[in-house]
Symmetry: C2
Subunit: 434 residues, 2 copies
């Protein structure tokens, strides 16, 4: 590892030389010019990262400290880029370029990966929203894929049909792949997922004998919990075949297959009535253009005494998902701002009863998942390859950073048809223990 | 009181005769023609009221049952209109026309006033939103007054500077003129107002020694409660002089004038920093066009660990306030939908932490106020006049109906700057008793 040389403003070849350091000793002319060109490029990247205290090193030859690292007198992480092509790729499109370089091993992060991304998110609040060198007019063309019935299936299969055995390595025993709820910091992942199921059921004020429709049921954990512990009948919809196969097997094994029906269909095709409509972690995949239609489905399902709950990743204001996450991990995904979320409910005169932001619970959930994932990396590599391992590591670390820095939110929204007055008068019942 | 004669479809002069009944016996020709003309007008009003089970009587001569009353075989209330001019006024502009006629005593309601308005709101969901006979293009001109600094003062004086003695008759000992919070149905009005203060303070996670800015402080109840029970310093803003005089006197009497400063100024002129920003029942008067500016004021005030709470009447979707309420009671008022509410927060990257809808708590609060108001009517009449008594009775009854039917909502919205992670992890602390 090179020794960092303090920035010097007397270097005539770097102007301004902010954060630029070069290795000793004085090089021959050709190497020096090349190094200077690379140094200027790297310096540009360091300026882009601004207040984030990061050290960038390229090809073990050139290094640059961000203004934040200079001010702080040190970096939280060192990012090593293999070569100039990698550096240029990142400069051209920081979000996609860095993600792909990290996945390929052309970019490496020394130090805590989450702390590095957190620092970037804090310093460049829109670093995940496509801010980079190409003009906005070009980026506008890169909007998320449209979620037609066909595209929705392709998008869902891309992510959720990777294989149940893979997810089983790190989701914990509930196989719940959504934000858990930690009543105390000591709560374990599995207990927190069960606590989330109960939190949702209590919010929905479920009564024995009632009917529930679930849209986007994952591996079936919530549906089965509702049936077992709240005495309701559930029709649960999903378009991921891998998840449905797992959920149906689970229902049979638990003797709940008469009470819970798992249906392979799109939320748009849901028919029939129910007392409660619930959707946990599907809305991210719906696309804002489809919200009024989703609201129509919900309003049609709910009787006059109905209740609904939609749980989704969200944003403080309308913004694209991080483009690398959208491109490589969640095609078609688009977490809404709360204002955008209201496009589901307002056209149908549905009353918002309760919104809870569980952002820091999702950060904690992801930390728990990442710990399991990190431990399972050799098995993930055996299932897939090194690139896949690194891609998913970056996705999990980036998601933690998204939630800890407030780039991402997690909204649980409870609502009811306008005339439903048959509801708990306070939320105290959510917190009764015993 | 006349005896209702059953509708008959054999009357050749009424075509269609839906709900029309005429008094006995057969009248002379001239009177009969006049009665038939009036009957048709009254029938038109009955059709407008549709499913609401109401009986309308004009000049003690002509009566009509709504389709809802016919179907149900009876009415929840009888509305007596003094004369044809009154009937025409209501037909031309139902919302304003009925309110003014009721205030003048030209319209009288026999039966429960709240039940009558509830029935109307349920049957004609937009009956309060300017639906009537004039075309929308004309109604568009009747939008709420703009809330410039000057207009805001005029609007606030119109309502809040009527006189502290008047409000003291029916608001209870706290003088809180906003939705209370009833932990149990047995909670009294005064206890529920104090419980609301505590609910707000707990949501804001107030710590001793912190600073609070309150925008729109009414008679000062919340500001003084925060100072006394949470050990904070409060700067409380208001543009109602009557309220400020009362609040300052109260602070002196309670020995809290060093800890609470009451400032006569508009929210737009608030400067300085604080740990918590709170506004209870002011937003209704701000106007949606000013939301981004209000959000700017809040974002400027809050430090990185700040919290904010805005409590406001709201709607399920964008809609005007009932035009009569807006014209006679609350000029310039405009309760937002939650989507509109987000125009305060989204431009400033403020994170919504918690939204609670207290709609039915406001219905209960208004019932408690109305019971006190009804008992104090002779004193109100001595202070003002009969018209004023009836106008405010209608406003209170209409507001109860607005909340019980879901025409109105009550949103408490808690939020924080994006990077604030120093927050309670669950809401359980709101419900700790003891």
């Amino acid at each position: 590892m090179e020794v960092a040389v303090a920035m010097t403003s007397t270097n005539p070849l770097s102007n301004p030389p902010t954060g630029l350091t070069t290795g000793p000793p004085a090089p021959p002319e050709a190497g020096r010019a090349r190094r200077t060109f690379d140094a200027r490029l790297l310096e540009r990247l360091a300026r882009f990262a601004g207040a984030a205290p990061i050290e960038f090193v390229m090809a073990d030859r050139v290094r640059a400290l961000t203004p934040g690292a200079q001010q702080r007198g040190g970096a939280v992480a060192t990012v090593r880029l293999r070569d100039r092509a990698t550096l240029l790729g990142i400069l051209t499109d920081p979000a996609i370029g860095f993600g792909d370089a990290y996945a390929d091993g052309r970019a490496e992060v020394e130090g805590d990966l989450v702390a590095f991304i957190e620092a970037m998110y804090r310093a460049v609040p829109d670093s995940g929203a496509g801010r980079g060198f190409p003009p906005r007019s070009v980026r506008w063309l890169e909007r998320p894929r449209r979620n037609t019935l066909k595209a929705a299936r392709d998008n869902i299969w891309h992510h959720y049909d990777i294989g149940n055995a893979f997810y089983a390595l790190w989701l914990g025993s509930t196989m719940a792949y959504t934000c858990a709820y930690y009543p105390t910091p000591a709560t374990s992942l599995d207990a927190a997922q069960v606590a989330k199921f109960d939190h949702v059921c209590r919010k929905l004020w479920l009564q024995p004998g009632e009917t529930v429709i679930e849209a986007g049921c994952g591996w079936g954990g919530l549906a089965l919990h509702m049936a077992r512990h709240y005495g309701v009948t559930v029709r649960a919809f999903n378009i991921s075949r891998e998840q449905l196969a797992f959920a149906r097997e689970r229902a049979r094994a638990e003797g709940l297959d008469a009470q819970v029906e798992f249906i392979e269909d799109d939320y748009r095709n849901i028919a029939g009535r129910c007392d409660a409509f619930v959707s946990v972690g599907m809305l991210e995949h719906v696309g804002i253009a489809n919200y009024a239609e989703l609201g129509g489905v919900i309003a049609r399902c709910l009787g006059p005494r109905g209740r609904g709950l939609v749980h989704s990743i969200g944003r403080n204001r309308p913004a694209r998902l991080h483009p690398w996450i959208e491109k490589r991990i969640f095609p078609g995904a688009q977490p809404p701002s709360l204002g955008e979320f209201m496009q589901i409910l307002e056209p149908h005169d549905l009353s918002v009863l309760d919104v809870e932001n569980l952002r820091l619970h999702y950060a904690r959930t992801l930390m728990d998942w990442k710990a399991l994932y990190d431990a399972a990396e050799p098995r993930v590599q055996a299932m897939f390859d090194a690139r896949f391992v690194r891609m998913w590591r970056l996705y999990l670390a980036g998601s933690i950073a998204g939630f800890t820095t407030g780039s991402l939110q997690l909204f649980q929204v409870l609502f009811a048809p306008r005339h439903n007055n048959d509801l708990p008068q306070t939320r105290a019942h959510l917190y009764d223990r015993g």
